[in-house]
Symmetry: C2
Subunit: 226 residues, 2 copies
DNA sequence: TTTCCGTGTTTCGTACACGATACGCGATGC
DNA sequence: GCATCGCGTATCGTGTACGAAACACGGAAA
């Protein structure tokens, strides 16, 4: 989403203030240093981040489009509330529909190179997942995002990939995932998906993916409403 | 998307400048008065719309999230290019996946009231579709958007509805739809969908919807690349 | 307790300074 | 003569500073 590396012909595009503010706010929200539902004051950010209001407003506008903050007229911005159980289930259902179609399509389209790229992604995960610490989790989470995005890309539908990306399912369940500590099982489920893709089995891949999403959901669900 | 009627407890939220700028730009893009691919200068808009840059920037940020304009660092905003054939097909595929699931779910969930609301929506369309003029088309288009949104709402998945809404399939094919003049057939296909829903037939509803999307796509496709 | 009002805080919008990009023109090299 | 390169100017995006309007909160009065 934030890969604004337009990169005008070989030259790295300068990091605008908007981008760094966006990244910092995203991090603050993900780590819950900005609590769900709490007010996000532009003035406070001006003082805290040491930049003027314009880039902050633009970053907030972007975050609003991402569904991570909410704007109320003449009242300001607020962090979106923690997912309710119903919203969480909606999100999982959405993933089943979109990713389910994507993997079954991917099973028919995947090249050798695609499969190997997926395998390489799996192999880079440090195993056994030793660390209980925040950084280890963060690396795992980033692996998970890359893995699922790659599945979508293999399916090859840009509109669908973008729509998925914009719902930010990973970001919105970040804290929950952290608390649920679900690393090793998730990796095994990923392997099952890759195995089905390798055999070119659409139905098998779809089943494996849906099992994975449901298993993840079951691991996370106890942490809702806390 | 632009229903920012946060409405702080019964009181209508004041129309901010951002909102009116957003609406005007949306109209300019839909009507192709801003050509696909062309530059959108902030300064020019400042002069033309008579407001300062801040609300314009925020409106453009929103439109970027909607995928209707594109921003390049230090170079400015551009209207997104006209859909290529491949992008158009992606969009149709996306609709088949998302809306297909939605109607089959809707067939199981729809109440009498839901069905009647859909029927009412169909009945409000002026028939026979006499006007070849722009205004008639516009009314038809708005009907179509309402009809499809209502289908999604009956399915009851907010995450999926939002994701669909944010891809703006209708907006992005507006001009094409206008040129393809496809009114009467579309209405009949809508009726087939409602009939299947009325019978509580998930498979039938899904088939009817997919037929509708493909028929629409076939009517529109000749107008691509013009 | 409820309503009204004043004060402080924050958002919304404007005006302006700075810096980067784009474009045209002329000079240079082949 | 033609293409390429470099320079200077105009234009536009980015960020700052400031004023005006709206909201939120607390105290006072009925």
């Amino acid at each position: 989403m934030n890969d604004r590396s337009t990169t005008p012909v070989g030259q790295l595009s300068r990091q605008m203030l908007v981008d760094s503010v966006y990244d910092r706010l995203m991090a603050l929200i993900m780590d819950q240093q900005i609590r769900p539902g709490s007010k996000i004051s532009i003035d406070a950010l001006v003082r805290e981040l040491g930049v003027s209001s314009t880039p902050i407003r633009e970053a907030l506008a972007r975050l609003e489009a991402d569904g991570l903050v909410l704007k109320e007229s003449m009242r300001g911005y607020f962090a979106t509330e923690q997912l309710s159980a119903a919203e969480f289930d909606d999100l999982c259902q959405f993933r089943e529909v979109v990713e389910g179609w994507a993997v079954s399509t991917a099973a028919l389209r995947a090249t050798k190179a695609d499969i190997e790229a997926l395998q390489a992604e799996l192999d880079t995960v440090p195993r056994p997942l030793d660390g209980d610490d925040y950084e280890s989790f963060r690396r795992l989470q980033e692996h998970d995002v890359r893995f699922h995005m790659r599945l979508l890309q293999i399916a090859g539908n840009q509109a669908l990939t973008t729509a998925f990306q914009r719902t930010h399912p990973h970001v919105r369940t970040f804290r929950l995932r952290y608390e649920a500590k679900q690393g090793n099982s998730a990796i095994r489920e990923h392997e099952a998906i890759v195995a089905a893709l390798r055999q070119g089995d659409p139905k098998g891949a779809q089943d494996a993916l849906i099992s994975h999403i449901r298993a993840t959901a079951n691991r996370i669900r106890p942490w809702l409403d806390t």
